[in-house]
Amino acid sequence: MSQQTHRISGGLIDRSSTLEFTFNGKKMQGHPGDTLASALLANGQRLVGRGFKYHRPRGIFTAGSEEPNALVQLRSGAHQEPNTRATVTELFDGLTATSQNHRGSLEFDFMAVTDLLSPFLSAGFYYKTFMWPKAFWEKIYEPIIRSSAGLGSLSMQEDPDIYDKGFLHCDLLVIGSGPAGLAAALSAARSGAQVILADEDYHAGGRLNAETYDIDGISGSDWAAQTLAELSAMDNVRVMVRTTVYGAYDHGVFGALERCTDHLASSDGKPRQVLWRIYSKRSLLSAGATERPIAFGNNDRPGIMLAGAVRTYVNRYGVSPGKQVAIFTNNDDGWRTATDLAAKGVDISAVIDARDIEPPASVHGAAVYMGSSVVDTAGRKGLRAITLASGERLEADCLAVSGGWNPNVHLTCHQRGKPQWRNEINAFVPGSTLPAGMRVAGAANGALSLGAALRDGTDCATSIMADLGFKSKASKAPTASDEAHASSAYWHVPESRPRAWLDMQNDVTVKDIKQSFKEGFRSVEHLKRYTTLGMATDQGKTSNIPALAIMAECTGKTIPETGTTIFRPPYTPIPMGALAGRARGKDFRPYRLTPSHKWAENNGATFVETGNWLRAQWFARPGEKGWRDSVDREVEMTRASVGICDVTTLGKIDIQGKDAAEFLNHVYTNAFLKLPVGKVRYGLMLREDGIAYDDGTTARLGENHFVMTTTTANAVLVFRRLEFARQCLWPGLDVHLISTTDGWAQFAVAGPNSRNLLSKVIDAPFDLSNDAFPFMACSELTICGGTPARLFRISFSGEMAYEIAVPARFGNAMMGVLMEAGKEYDAVPYGTEALGVMRIEKGHAAGNELNGQTTALNLGLGGFVSKKKDCIGKTLSQRPELNRDDAIRLVGFKPVDHSQPLLAGSHFITKGDTANMANDQGWMTSVAYSPTFGHSIGLGFIKRGHERKGEIIRVVNPARNIEVEAEIVSPHFYDPEGGLQRG
């Protein structure tokens, strides 16, 4: 198309098909195979955004994921994504992109005025400027900074895409599909190993697609395509393009992000991205190298690019970034840009080499300046001309800059590895400490020529295969030439007067580094944080090393003496959505349903989350105005006749073994050895530090068979502790544990008619009479004509009560059967609220009381700590401080004025004392309105509580500014003698 003014011949794009896209609303065209960046350049669009701090015009600087400049907003509406690198965005039909970080249009950004203020916006500007007056911070400074900070903007809508995660396993993970990676993957795959080859690019081959090298007599890109085809056809190889291995974790675990649909107009209901956890036996890092720039005056103008990137656009995309290109290099590799461009007929105005040596190549039609440099550039919205150190001014609309290549050592640092300096290539290479199982090959390892990379990759794979025990077929490395790549340590142009950029994303200049040095910063880590160099989303891939070199210059030390920075995951940014994966909304965590959930749903239940469980909180009936109406009724009807509650959520642990009773003696404070078969006993557990941990009932079903119940919240934790006690503390005991929580649907049947109700469902000849089945009895039996069940005569409500358990698959039907059988008694289902009210009325401790701070003594359960035997926590529970005379005790409270409610969390103050911490007597743990007594009641801990019954105390809640008076009473409000539950 005529629009594509900068399209030239060749490249790995499909010219038979045209893709339409828009940039800032302007219609443009490109081809499959293009990135957004290459398509923009093809359309002559050099200006693509504005700088972060000074709002200077910015263009495309690189051709890869290291891009600091060309960040755009992609897509629209809820799909809008800010800070997307145009250099890695695959072009698709209908793509819409807009530029970022400007007020007004991209061409006329009002915020560009900040550039004129630049003398004031130097390193540490924020730290120095917004210090005072203090009152200005919140009202003035912060809002201004917030509105001008950041680059792109969020859609402020929920992310409509879905994301997924996954797990992969392999013998060898090859990271990067350039020449070294392809050669290694091929060699390893041929020996039969499970190989994953991952590359962030959508077109495997790395620099082979961007250069004009030959391998084994064919073009590098053809060789890459051929090798890839062979690999893709093998069952033991998984080629993952569009997949960034972003982090190296312990023991061969890697994180990788696969972009599944980012190259498509629509995700079509499929995950947009998948976050993989890759388990590898060995890994090979063949991530290549990243070119670095040279810093000189006004080096940030659109049109100034890395020399290798210019080659990529010309060779891979068939785009010439300029019509008249100048090249500024300090190394041999930069000259390849000149020869490649010349071969494509692109006009080259000059080659400027900082080295005063013989020109390494001759370039037809180009002026050559050896030992020279670029000191300044011109062109407000795009490069027009450059000025050399000699003062000579040359016209150019593109300047290709090469400061040498940095091996991509990033992943070698993720496990504390420190890169080492290698003088021959003036760059850091991976150090000796690598992540477990990792090898590094090719340019990432400092093997900067193609021939060397191919040999390195093949050799590494061969040795890894031998190490893993694969019979490796002797494979010969593909052959290619070892091109010249001599470089020099030349980082910035000292003669340059104007500002010279290092970090273009965070707008950090050479001057900022020098100033930081003057202000006393020496450590590279401090320098980074002070100047924000390398702390933008590109993590300083092109700027860290030049900045380090300038710091070294200031200190007069060598670069390795000055230090290096450690790279941390992720290698490139990972969207929050990918990290969240499926864990959004109601899928944030799994949920558990009680067996009678369906029945409850059909009968007006309101549910409450307790842990992962959904439990019926109350069952509203028509006409009830609020939850209190329902809860009061449930309590009243249960106490008057009979109520039924699904208590399946309590933890159940099946304990068997010859030494099971002795084991229980170790973990419970009270004795279990002599518990008869067919009986249940309350048990209390302590932590080893003497604090109460959990409680519940344990039933003895047989000589060697117990069933323990735990609280709902602690079910998993108690099981874990019991396994610890079994395996680590008493491994000589014959005892076995298995959870049966989900296996039995268990229902509390409570109230004076509970026996009458149950007698209708149990099978003959089971005798339910008080003599045959008294309080704390248990038995296995059958019900409803043969269904196996377990019956326990226990009571949490204080009523005559039972808990009956049936296999969970019968649970929903069981609830219906119990209600049907209870019809004649007006049986009522009750939820967790009524359960809570009745347990407070009865004075049973629950989670509010067993809160991790209280002892058996505090809870009034001191008598449950057996004096005759040891148990977990016993020794430390005897510490004097836990047994002081004025220790807090659990007692009951009732308001003096019955119309007043008590509040949990209130503190107790003795009458006449000031309400302050020094006079604090304890606190209220649980309160409820008691329909049984017609007023609010409470449980709480108060000093010497057991000796203070009858005292009127102040119940103070300073947070809500509420105070009432209450009488200290027994915690057992309801049936303190316990006659009902025994009845």
Partner: protein, 95 residues
Amino acid sequence: MIINHPLLGPRDAAEFVYLGDAALIDRPDPEAENADEQFYEYGYLRDNPAGAHQELWYHEQGDRSWLVVTRDTLTHEITGVKLARDEAKKRGRNK
């Protein structure tokens, strides 16, 4: 991290729950004369080595075994994994 379970082979650490110092196996004798002192040390005092550390991991999402894992706290290198039950017996806990 990957823990090489002695019975099950390499498993992701995500399947495990971490407890801490394997010294927790050495629960003092409650009958000892200075039992309170010993339990105080057992409960509250831990070594915090920069280097090899024996620690307890529980394979909760697996076979429910407690393991004694020797892990370098600096590098995370794991140099040994044993069943805690065997280790406890070796340390003389036979009851």
